[in-house]
Symmetry: C2
């Protein structure tokens, strides 16, 4: 007996960071918008679940398998960038600074939450390493405690493969104000200082 | 050639207050959620546009015409509460303090935006007043400049009908801290003080 408006508010408020008030505002917006909009949104939501799956090579989200990055012969096979989540891949792609391939772990090691190496795509990573074209692995997990621990774990695990292992640089973000940055970041920026002349 | 994820992010970021980052976060959430959720959300969005229309009596959003409030014989026909938007009706209903009927203007007078009395459901309000059962009209437009101007306009317009015209009270909100309230609110609260003993 729930009316369509209450139903939509209810569904929207299940989204992360969307409370009942915001959900109500969004529902009214959708209600007032031209019906093409509601249609397009509704369709985009149902399509995303039907059409998107994981790439069997890098475990990126994709429509086609293998994904656009794994298929693209223009991308350097020698470079493999390991990230936690598909969002991280998108962020790196937006920067336009990386022309290699990716491997998505789908998480980080987190003993407290019961996430060990078996829960991540690490077995699959090791299988990929049998492809001898890979020469450098860039560990681009986040700079959180779990991200660092996962990077450390991978360094140990991958050492026997005699590949070049690198970690993305930590330092002052562009536009970052020293005055407001935490000591860890500043310490890391000074430690990793770069010769400029 | 846009992929389903980019399409969903694009549609979501058209919602008010949702930027590209939030839209991406929501899209990934939908992608990870069980497919029943995506289905329910998608359906709720398309249903809201197909099933909801305006009540021909009070102009509330409704599935059935007349709406549940206009149909409900248990609600006092003598009391008519005028609000700006359907959201305001919902807010009043949640308070559980009003057992009369409603009339929704669908906006406020705003000469700057070219919204005059013809753009609001005022003609329709006058038509309803021919029903002699209405005895009191509560003006519950917002306390904004436009809301007050609209209330004032309605007072003038409705005076000839010899009805009781009331305006919702302005004052300190429950839990409101005098120290942080604006002078207009405090002024109004003192002016409208209520005898308690």
């Amino acid at each position: 007996m729930q009316n369509p408006l209450a139903k939509l508010v209810n569904e929207l408020s299940k989204l992360p960071g969307i409370g009942e008030r915001t959900a109500t505002r969004l529902a009214f917006y959708i209600l007032r918008a031209p019906s093409q909009y509601a249609q397009a949104l509704s369709q985009a939501i149902s399509e995303i679940k039907n059409k998107i799956r994981l790439c069997s090579v890098c475990f990126n989200l994709t429509e086609a398998d293998p994904c656009q990055f794994c298929q693209n012969e223009g991308r350097d096979k020698a470079l493999l960038c390991i990230v936690e989540e598909p969002q991280d891949l998108l962020a790196i792609e937006k920067s336009g600074t990386f022309r290699g391939r990716y491997h998505i772990l789908h998480g980080v090691l987190s003993p407290l939450e019961g996430i060990g190496p078996e829960q991540l795509k690490i077995k699959e990573l090791l299988r990929r390493l049998q492809d001898s074209s890979i020469q450098e692995i860039i560990l681009a997990t986040n700079s959180s405690v779990e991200g660092e621990a996962t990077a450390l774990y991978l360094v140990k695990l991958l050492k026997p493969f005699a590949l070049k292992l690198t970690r993305i640089a930590h330092g002052i973000p562009m536009g970052g104000d020293l005055e407001y940055l935490d000591v860890m970041t500043i310490g890391s920026a000074i430690e990793n200082r770069v010769v400029v002349s």
